[in-house]
Point group: C2
Chain length 332, copies 2
Amino acid sequence: MKKQIVLKSRPVGKPTADNFETRLIEIPTVAEGEVRLVAHTFSVDPYLRGRMSDAKSYIAPFQVGEAIVSGLVAKVVESKAANLKVGDFVMERLPWQEEMVVPAKGLQVVDEKIAPLSYYLGILGMPGLTAYFGLLDIGKPQKGETVVVSGAAGAVGMVVGQIAKIQGCRVVGIAGDDAKNEYLMKELHFDAVINYKTVKNLDKALDTACPSGVDVYFDNVGGEISDAVIAQINKGARIIICGQISLYNATSMPVGPRIQPSLLKRSAMMQGFIVSNYVHRFPEGFKVLAGWVSGGLLKYTNTAYKGFDQLPEAFIALFEGKNLGKLIVEVS
Amino acid sequence: MKKQIVLKSRPVGKPTADNFETRLIEIPTVAEGEVRLVAHTFSVDPYLRGRMSDAKSYIAPFQVGEAIVSGLVAKVVESKAANLKVGDFVMERLPWQEEMVVPAKGLQVVDEKIAPLSYYLGILGMPGLTAYFGLLDIGKPQKGETVVVSGAAGAVGMVVGQIAKIQGCRVVGIAGDDAKNEYLMKELHFDAVINYKTVKNLDKALDTACPSGVDVYFDNVGGEISDAVIAQINKGARIIICGQISLYNATSMPVGPRIQPSLLKRSAMMQGFIVSNYVHRFPEGFKVLAGWVSGGLLKYTNTAYKGFDQLPEAFIALFEGKNLGKLIVEVS
């Protein structure tokens, strides 16, 4: 019997441990074309919160009583598939289980010799690709422009800031912790950082950090932080809506200043997106990101919880802003 | 002495007659390179409201005590410029005056033989070009898609709807008057119309009018009408912010539901613009619009006030939704 974590109830507001339940399940035998996997490292992501609600979104909701599914790097321990052998590592969206039997088809093989396994969930995985396509394809930052990123110390945000630096932009990060901001300044060479939790006047801080205004805003957070940034956009600004983590736990329709007049006055553009829109270009993104990583232009860090049982706690911690970089749970 | 209308005070909320003052001015003599013009037809536009406030926008505010400036077709009655002769008609942004002496340089000659003079302020002028570039360049409507336009019976909106029909789209117009909506259906062949003032349930009416959802929303109005439309956008929708007339008279920051989550869930795009962004492509737009007009594909109508003194009243009427098509004031 192996452990599985299911959605016990849909969260109302901030998720709690009570929304999850651990069960023991039988792992079936391996049929032709299938493999048995042992979980190695789980990805824990803000977008999972959306799937825990039953509102219409870009991805179907989780069902109560069924396993949570997220990105997982797993080890093949038994194989009846020609293309996978015991000892291979694979990555896919897979259930929160210690072990599982799945079809081999569609599993992406990942290679520890090219990059540490956790990278395939982070800088070379979904968050890295999200930063790459969102910033470059939608934001189109030009040399000398000012790029502001919210959730700057998160898995996506810290890649966005570094790619913007590679493009020759002034990069301003917004995060909620001094230690995170120090990392962004000292290790990732952001030009300015703002701690939105301790700053006295966010408008003034943004004005100081962005003396030439804001040309590109990569938004992971939404809410009042975004109101303040949007108030300082330049003509022709591009706003990339990647996440709205400040609103994911809202229990009523969030309201705020209407932004259409600002977009109108500045001929500005705002675009929502999800990385899967770019699935046909993933190989390109992976190649460029891997090149930047191996060339030392992109640094990467993560926050790791240890042990399968930590999955719910790690997920809840996302909404407390505890993670620096990608949040992962290492199982084995 | 000739009449001039100046901004007497900045409107707070809806403009009133008290915000304007008529003065008598001396018309100077004509110097080399100048012409004397007699006003023929003024254009009265919602965007002028923005210039009456002193908030930062895409165009400098009017100064209190100075003449209002708007689009004008005027007749040359005296010329000391080689390129203009007495009897020519010209168009330019010019002051609200019965007569004026201005440099000939920069005045666009308009030809009554090609189209009625009022067309150069409407379908072949700024509103027509606004509809053309906003819908086609930003909205990129595809055959079979559903295009919703607010302010559908206004100068821009009725051109947007007709161009969308030319593109093979389903066109849904929102306006606040049954007579206007009848015109849109019978004369301009819109597929559906909604009277937002009398409809009992706007959400339900939109749902009925847009059985396949909303792919393109051309927004002239903003506010609660837009909230309802944005709630029904499809994946990959494009929202063009052309005007926000429902908010122009707001005396405090308008608030409403935050729209970023909707844009995120639908990978949708919203873009503000002003027609002058496309000044380098005006000849293209004019040529295409003129072709459609002469080919009978684009119909046009306007609401005309008669007499110079009617300018303030005509402008105020814009915010009461009284105009069908372009609102103009015929002086002579």
